[in-house]
């Protein structure tokens, strides 16, 4: 019990999630129906994949505006390259995502161009690549094994969600137990100190951009498996917003240096549950967008007022 309370104190998002679930199920018992809960998990899988890489990047003190179109591009590649066989299509898609991440990482870490400019550029440019590759057409998959895989379940749980969860566990392990993870925190906390301590700053930042591109690409693959189709408009322009909202809501610091994939998972499920609740109460889907916006503003406000309070107690 004590451990649970201290966990909730450290990661309040899980307490908020629990609260929302309890309150909702009092008003709408059908919220707890297995089918409904599984629905939330399916819908969270893609966004969660994108948010894992973004968590690394944000802990590192950066963020990428390009994850949305990278997801769209790799989803289109996964569908379009199916004739080459599924594994080849998936590998090429992930390589493409990692490659775009590497371009971003090169310009941010080596050329020292502002990350906002670099990822804004690739956000727009990769959108162009999607249109060039698809020729403005929607691609429809012909391989129904792949589609069946996307709709499949393991022990009743959607496979796509389990894949995301597996990556989240690896991601959390990587942050906590590997040298790369510790360097990521150190650089996000204080770049100069990290540099003086001999941490390879350039390489770590570069790797995190590659990682973020790769997870966005895996998100694209999962999306392709779910839809068995890809339209040129996928990922434009709200996906970046959702991904950043997920990470920020989880409690990863906006300025870098603290955060975790577990928190992001909490943010992911909370947003998923909130959308689902609106849906259960028959609220127009437009309000989902409004909710995302308000949540972002609220979280930033709370984050900032907590920080001021902490600074005051230190004095």
């Amino acid at each position: 019990m004590k451990r649970l309370i201290s966990f909730f104190r450290r990661q309040p998002i899980w307490a908020i999630l629990l609260g929302i679930i309890v309150i909702t199920s009092l008003f709408r018992p059908d919220f707890l129906a297995v089918g409904n809960l599984l629905n939330i998990l399916v819908q969270s899988a893609v966004n969660g994949m994108l948010a894992i890489g973004m968590t690394y990047l944000m802990i590192n003190g950066y963020f990428a505006l390009s994850v949305g179109t990278v997801m769209g591009f790799t989803a289109a590649l996964t569908i379009g390259l199916q004739p080459l066989s599924i594994p080849v299509a998936v590998i090429i898609a992930i390589a493409a995502g990692a490659g775009i991440g590497a371009i971003n990482g090169f310009f941010v870490a080596k050329a020292k161009v502002n990350a906002f400019v670099v990822t804004l550029g690739s956000f727009i440019g990769v959108r162009g690549l999607i249109y060039i590759y698809t020729g403005e057409n929607a691609l429809v998959g012909q391989n129904y094994d792949f589609f069946d895989f996307g709709a499949s379940r393991v022990l009743g749980v959607p496979t796509l969600f389990l894949i995301m969860l597996a990556f989240a566990i690896i991601g959390e392990f990587g942050l906590r137990r590997t040298a790369h993870g510790r360097r990521t925190y150190a650089i996000g906390g204080n770049v100069e100190a990290a540099e003086n301590a001999g941490i390879p700053v350039h390489r770590t930042v570069f790797l995190n951009f590659v990682l973020c591109g790769a997870t966005a690409a895996i998100g694209g693959v999962l999306l392709a498996a779910r839809l068995n189709a890809a339209t040129p408009g996928l990922g434009w322009p709200d996906t970046n917003l959702m991904t950043i909202a997920t990470v920020v809501l989880g409690g990863t610091s906006l300025t870098g240096g603290s955060g975790s994939v577990t928190r992001t998972l909490g943010g992911l499920l909370t947003l998923g549950v909130l959308y689902n609740v609106l849906n259960l109460f028959n609220v127009q889907s437009y309000y989902n967008l409004l909710l995302t916006g308000l949540v972002l503003i609220l979280v930033v406000y709370v984050d900032s007022s907590l920080k001021t309070k902490r600074q005051q107690t230190f004095r």
């Binding site: 310009f107 080596k110 050329a111 020292k112 161009v113 502002n114 906002f116 400019v117 670099v118 804004l120 550029g121 690739s122 956000f123 727009i124 440019g125 990769v126 959108r127 162009g128 690549l129 249109y131 060039i132 403005e136 350039h202 434009w236 322009p237 709200d238 917003l241 950043i244 909202a245 920020v248 906006l254 127009q284 437009y286 309000y287 989902n288 967008l289 409004l290 995302t292 916006g293 308000l294 949540v295 972002l296 503003i297 930033v300 406000y301 900032s304």
Partner: protein, 341 residues
């Protein structure tokens, strides 16, 4: 240091920027090319399309391009002020959609002038709320305006119920003149944009408010110690950005005489790309409204040029990627004297 440099840069309109090349000679030419990456990019883009297409430099086409960029150009003025003061405004695209929808839907109900006034108020109010959150409460502008991007788009959809708005009898109103009219052969939006650029260039470079904007962005701590109310200055930049976006929304609605809910989607990215091309520093404290317009013009020329060459419109997005990152890289590299850090 920052403040001084930007005042030198911003001390006049585009005229001195262009003629500055003549006064330097010899080895200075190389440093000019490195420093004025924008002008180089502009000349290269114009030269390329002039050679590739004989229609590109015709008066009709130039007017077409200018009219097309006048909407992004108007938004870019406010964006430049916001960025110079050290923040971002990602809400402009959604706000342009909302204001266009508001002016069109109210036109037939309360008449053109009241509709335009209400629209302007919507823009100013949105800017004021964002300005209070960023300026007064000191919240991260990127995330706050990202929230506005989503929120304003949602409000637009809720307001229209997802329906398309249009003016029922476009021939019976003068409202279309703002977006479609010509004065002495010059499109009306271009005239409005020219006046706004001139006015805000003077405001940024010649007034106390402008100097405060530059110093708040360049050195927030020093400006606070010298008694500048930085919160108010930042709030004002957001209010101006909201107001100018409303003006752009009115021009957009007037040109189309109709408005669709996602009209301005993605504008924020094109505007910021243009402003960045125009050499406005993302660290704040440095920026020039006329150069921001040149940046927007480059983006407009790319769109126009690719269409003239018969290439699909989406090639321009890849070109924007290369040019935006390339120009900023050139700028950073010339400041530190080598390509890679």
């Amino acid at each position: 240091m920052n403040v001084k440099a930007s005042q030198e840069n911003g001390s006049g309109s585009g005229g001195d920027v262009l003629t500055a090349s003549g006064s330097r000679a010899g080895s200075a030419v190389r440093s000019f090319f490195e420093r004025q990456g924008l002008i180089v990019a502009f000349v290269v883009v114009v030269a390329f399309f002039s050679i590739a297409s004989d229609r590109f430099l015709s008066i009709t086409n130039i007017m077409l391009v200018l009219r097309q960029v006048s909407i992004l150009g108007t938004i870019a003025i406010g964006m430049t002020l916001v960025i110079v003061a050290g923040n971002f405004d990602l809400s402009v695209g959604s706000l342009a959609s909302l204001t266009a929808v508001v002016v069109i839907s109210l036109h037939d109900v309360i008449g053109p002038i009241p509709a335009m006034i209400v629209t302007l108020l919507v823009g100013l109010a949105s800017g004021a709320v964002a300005g209070i959150l960023v300026g007064k409460l000191r919240l991260n502008s990127l995330i706050i305006t990202l929230g506005f991007l989503a929120g304003l788009q949602a409000i637009t959809l809720i307001y229209t119920g997802g329906r398309y708005s249009r003016i029922v009898a476009p021939e019976e109103t003068w409202f279309g003149f703002i977006g479609r009219g010509f004065v002495f052969g010059i499109p009306m939006p271009v005239i409005i944009l020219a006046i706004l650029i001139l006015a805000f260039s003077i405001i940024l470079t010649r007034t106390v408010f402008g100097r405060h904007v530059i110093s708040v962005g360049g050195n927030p701590v020093a400006s606070r110690f010298s008694g500048i109310r930085d919160g108010n200055i930042i709030m004002l930049t957001f209010i101006i950005s909201g107001g100018l976006t409303a003006v752009a929304g009115i021009m957009l609605g007037s040109r189309l005489m109709a408005a669709q809910n996602y009209l301005g989607q993605g504008y924020e990215f094109e505007v910021i790309a243009g402003v960045i091309l125009g050499g406005t520093s993302l660290q704040g404290g440095e920026g020039n409204i006329f150069k921001a317009f040149i940046g927007i013009l480059i983006i407009g020329i790319l769109r126009n040029g690719f269409l003239l060459l018969g290439l699909p419109y989406y090639f321009q997005w890849v070109a924007q990627w290369v040019i935006v990152v390339g120009v900023v890289w050139l700028d950073v590299a010339s400041k530190r004297g080598k390509l890679l850090a």
